[in-house]
């Protein structure tokens, strides 16, 4: 390729065959292909490897708590309790006089989400005010897993329930319900 033709370059009339003009172009197609493949790989790995997170805001935990507890209409509240082995119990209103439940329900699309969406609608119909929607009280039991909590928080985000609280106090009757097989 890189040979130099030194002899007889001027060439006379009867000179030899002129060295054939070599094509200086190299076929870069394969190289470009490879380069773009690597670019794609590095781009995707850098952007996808960033950890994703779910933001969570909790209310102020003040030991003094001079503020009066806020009173809300019990007809707007829905309580979701999580127990061992992905057990999920929900009820509407107060446990002594529930509007619905307490009932076992499954996680996911056909279970809690369906219920949440329909309850959300009915609460808005009941209050007649868009700003006064459903209030969900999430009670993760002592034996529930972290996954259960994230799943329920995720359901809140999917179904668009803006007001929810994580509560750790259990009524004796609630514990009984959770323990029951």
């Amino acid at each position: 390729m890189a040979e130099l033709n030194t002899n007889d370059s001027g060439g006379g009339k009867g000179g030899k065959v002129r060295s054939k003009k070599q094509n200086s172009k190299v076929d870069l197609t394969a190289m470009v292909d490879l380069a773009f493949l690597l670019i794609t790989f590095f781009m995707l790995t850098t952007t996808l490897s960033k950890p994703q997170a779910m933001p969570l805001g909790l209310p102020d935990k003040d030991p003094k708590a001079d503020e009066k507890p806020m009173k809300v209409d019990e007809k707007r509240t829905m309580t979701i309790m999580m127990g061992e082995n992905n057990k999920l119990i929900y009820y509407m209103g107060l446990l002594e006089a529930p509007i619905a439940g307490p009932k076992d329900i499954a996680y996911g699309k056909e279970g809690i989400r369906k219920e949440l969406l329909s309850r959300k609608k009915s609460v808005i119909e009941y209050t007649g005010n868009k700003d006064k929607g459903i209030i969900v009280i999430i009670k993760p039991g002592k034996k529930s897993k972290y996954k259960n909590l994230v799943d329920i928080l995720d359901e809140m985000a999917i179904s668009g329930v803006g007001t929810y609280a994580i509560v750790n106090d259990f009524l004796p009757k609630e514990t009984e319900l959770l323990e029951k097989k």
């Binding site: 190289m31 670019i39 997170a53 972290y146 994230v150 995720d154």
Partner: protein, 205 residues
């Protein structure tokens, strides 16, 4: 008729491609094996976490089946500053070399007194070494100290403009009371908003 050449000049294209490739390779950070691998639960809510000024608390079960808490901070200056702060707070000496090494490390889960041993190890050995987790009981709550010192360091370094973000990275199978304990420690310091590290989940879950 003159025969047209079918091949295009790809020199420029090749140049650009390799320029971009170099850029991406240089900006990519090598993934180091985590000292405490956890399987995070998945969610549909996805917010990207920042690269700096972030503290991650990892909770999961180690190889011995015991739940442990590990701590990690992002940002080299922040790590140096925090280590210095912790050293003075708990009376453990760290040399400049230690700090420089610590800045390049990842998560760790040892009491401060044993941290020097971990720093002196080679990167490959760190993930293999048994780490008992950061003590967080009421007698010796080092997790609280780490949080306190790193938050102060983040504020000092940014000149009071940036607060340290805190994320909890819990194993999906971890018991809720363990997570709650971490949340309580955070809330005792008036940290009421933080993030939960989650994996990605499809929309029609």
């Amino acid at each position: 008729m003159k025969k047209k050449s079918a091949s295009t000049d790809m020199t420029a294209m090749c140049d650009v491609a390799f320029l971009l490739l170099t850029f991406f390779i240089l900006t990519a950070t090598a993934k180091v094996p985590e000292a405490l691998p956890v399987d995070t639960p998945s969610s549909t809510v996805l917010t990207k976490m920042p690269d700096t000024d972030l503290a991650i608390i990892t909770i999961g079960k180690g190889k011995d089946g015991v739940s442990k808490v590990f701590f990690d901070m992002k940002g080299r200056e922040l790590r140096k500053e925090t280590l210095a702060g912790m050293g003075t707070k708990l009376g453990v000496e760290f040399s400049e070399e230690d700090k420089a090494k610590f800045a390049l490390m990842d998560d760790f889960g040892v009491p401060l007194a044993n941290l020097k041993q971990i720093i002196d190890m080679k990167a490959a050995d760190r993930s293999k070494a048994p780490q008992p987790g950061i003590p967080m009981d009421s007698l010796d709550n080092q997790l609280k100290d780490w949080l306190l010192v790193s938050r102060r360091a983040a504020i000092d370094l940014s000149g009071g403009t940036k607060e340290l973000q805190i994320a909890i990275k819990g194993d999906a199978k971890e018991d809720y009371p363990k997570i709650k304990k971490i949340m309580d420690i955070l809330q005792d310091q008036k940290i009421n908003s933080f993030s939960l590290v989650t994996g990605m989940r499809g929309k029609d879950f």
